[in-house]
């Protein structure tokens, strides 16, 4: 990295050289400010006003919207469902992604071919995924019941997406199917960056497979795993389209994750102020969680 140094010792005026780096990022920052920061700030602003479709006056109401939001009885359910959904998806995708990445990390013919095939679930549009899985899960026309029915593992003709006991898991399976390739690819990339000599040396010393995994693979994947888990958690937590297209949050709120709840408050009940309050609160909460998470991992890596 080149440190920007003025040719003449400390001139008072900004030299072109000094602002040059900022010029390079200016277009990105402008677009960012326009499309993200401005609506974000406006969203936060709306949360302090009474903003519904039912009246065109929008008076300032301070923290009223927040108060109302926290008194909504459904909120507890929504949080529980959202956390289960996000954490469950992340863990499922991580484990599956790791296993597959390890399987694909060996050199064998056609490895690239399989890797390309396994990425298919991730690249399809969410609405297409929803169409497919709605059909697969249908109690009469669906393939899942056709396969599992004879096995006798589950109740006959289970209505996967319509039974509150199974709906969330069913939706999560579809989500994990969709999301694991991302983990697989990231971990594969990380695995390929580990020098084989490390493994050789350890094998010479008599290390077993699981020891290799625990003491060489995992530590070296730390960066990749941290970044991927943050991206995956945020992405899953805020994922709207798939669940909406599969169940619209039902049945009986069993899949009502926060993004759907917010959408419902804004576009069905037309209570924009309250929706904005919900969104702001959870955005702030998540930001703090992520900071804590990232910082903890960074601290720990320094100890190693």
């Amino acid at each position: 990295m080149i440190a920007v140094a003025p040719a003449v010792p400390a001139p008072r005026r900004l030299t072109y050289r000094q602002i040059y780096p900022y010029l390079l990022i200016a277009p990105s920052l402008t677009v960012f400010a326009l499309v993200l920061v401005y609506p974000f700030v406006d969203g936060v602003r709306i949360s302090f006003f009474q903003d519904t479709l039912m009246s065109q006056s929008r008076p300032f109401v301070g923290f009223d919207n927040y108060r109302v939001v926290f008194q909504i009885p459904q909120l507890g359910t929504v949080m529980r469902v959202s956390l289960t959904w996000a954490l469950g998806s992340v863990v499922g995708e991580a484990i599956l992604g790791m296993v597959v990445a390890l399987m694909l990390n060996r050199a064998f013919r056609g490895r690239g071919f399989f890797r390309s095939l396994l990425v298919v679930p991730w690249v399809m549009p969410a609405v297409v995924t929803a169409v497919i899985w709605r059909w697969l899960y249908h109690s009469e026309f669906g393939v899942v019941n056709q396969v599992f029915g004879p096995l006798g593992l589950f109740p006959d003709k289970e209505n996967w997406l319509g039974d509150p006991n199974t709906a969330l898991w069913a939706v999560m399976v579809a989500n994990i199917w969709r999301g694991f390739p991302f983990w697989m690819i990231m971990i594969l990339a990380g695995l390929q960056a580990i020098e084989p000599e490390l493994y050789e040396a350890a094998r010479v010393d008599g290390a077993r497979a699981w020891q290799l995994f625990r003491y060489i693979t995992l530590p070296n994947l730390r960066i990749v795993l941290t970044i991927t888990s943050i991206l995956s958690f945020v992405g899953n937590f805020n994922n709207f389209t798939l669940v909406y297209a599969l169940t619209e949050g039902g049945p009986v709120d069993s899949t009502k994750i926060l993004p759907i709840f917010i959408w419902e408050t804004a576009f069905k009940f037309t209570r924009f102020g309250e929706a904005a309050a919900m969104a702001t609160f959870f955005a702030v909460l998540m930001a703090m969680l992520i900071l804590v998470y990232a910082r903890t991992l960074r601290l720990r890596s320094r100890e190693v």
């Binding site: 277009p27 677009v31 399987m103 690819i185 390929q192």
Partner: protein, 278 residues
């Protein structure tokens, strides 16, 4: 001898598992393909039939005569434009982060991850008002710029890693020979970072191609819809044209599947060099 046989056995087992697993993962996509070749009444058979008995391209034929080709064009143009712009802006920004240390570097890098923190449902109305004021609703630009923003953070982050890996000396050599900084970037650094560019391109293209909510909100006319929104319009209040839905879903998926199939090697390579080396 037995050790080698054992390793062979393990290899076979792993290969077999890989094949079976891949087949399972791909099954839903296969089912989609099969369904798209069936007429609606064949689709509704109980029990579901896995291999179409009388495959027909009727659905695709009807798809071509619906508004779907418009939607395909819209999605293609928007996704391509977004990708090109994202590559450009991200390259510039990443170059800046990589080659210079300046105030705000670390904070900006951290901000990259907080892009998706705000739920779409709340961001969409202020953004819609913004585009309305700029008179960009129902145009490609409203979506291109929006997707650009969501794709920039990862793109920049990926490319930073790549640029870090390219020795500065190469650029300096080019500049001594008379190239400008950007010229050196274009002629020396970027060619060495093709995997990273490919990774970025794929990621952004996917984002733009698959997105639903903004596309729904910013586009009004039937002709300006993107594919995901268009697919939803096949679901009417009292009837669903399943043939069109299936065929449309297949056509919606094929380009990105093929694109990724071709470029996934670069994607992995891109992440290897870029992401991991940090």
């Amino acid at each position: 001898m037995t050790a080698r046989l054992q390793r062979r056995g393990v290899a076979w087992l792993l290969n077999g598992t890989t094949v079976v697993f891949t087949a399972l993962v791909l099954f839903p996509f296969y089912w989609l393909l099969a369904s798209s070749l069936e007429t609606p009444d064949q689709l509704f058979r109980i029990p579901a039939v896995l291999v179409p008995t009388a495959p027909t391209f009727d659905n695709f034929d009807r798809l071509l005569h619906s508004s779907f080709p418009h939607w395909f064009q819209n999605s293609a143009v928007i996704a391509s434009a977004t990708t090109l712009l994202a590559l450009t802006l991200a390259a510039l920004a990443a170059y800046s982060f990589s080659r210079f240390t300046f105030r705000g570097n670390r904070e900006l890098t951290t901000m990259l991850l907080f892009v998706q923190l705000f739920p779409v449902a709340v961001v969409v109305i202020p953004l819609f008002i913004l585009w309305t004021n700029l008179r960009l609703t129902n145009t490609y630009w409203s979506l291109i710029v929006t997707y650009l923003v969501f794709g920039l953070p990862i793109s920049t982050w990926l490319l930073i890693g790549f640029f870090n890996a390219v020795p500065v000396e190469l650029e300096e050599a080019a500049m001594i020979d008379g190239a400008s900084r950007l010229g050196a970037l274009w002629r020396v650094t970027l060619p060495l970072c093709v995997p990273g560019l490919a990774a970025t391109a794929i990621y952004v293209f996917l984002l733009a191609w698959n997105e639903y909510f903004f596309a729904l909100t910013f586009m009004n006319s039937t002709d300006m819809r993107t594919i995901p929104v268009g697919l939803t319009s096949f679901f009417a209040e009292h009837s669903v044209d399943w043939g069109l839905v299936m065929a449309g879903s297949v056509v919606a998926s094929l380009p990105v599947v093929i694109l990724f199939g071709l470029l996934s090697r670069y994607f992995v390579q891109g992440l290897t060099s870029g992401a991991v080396k940090g």
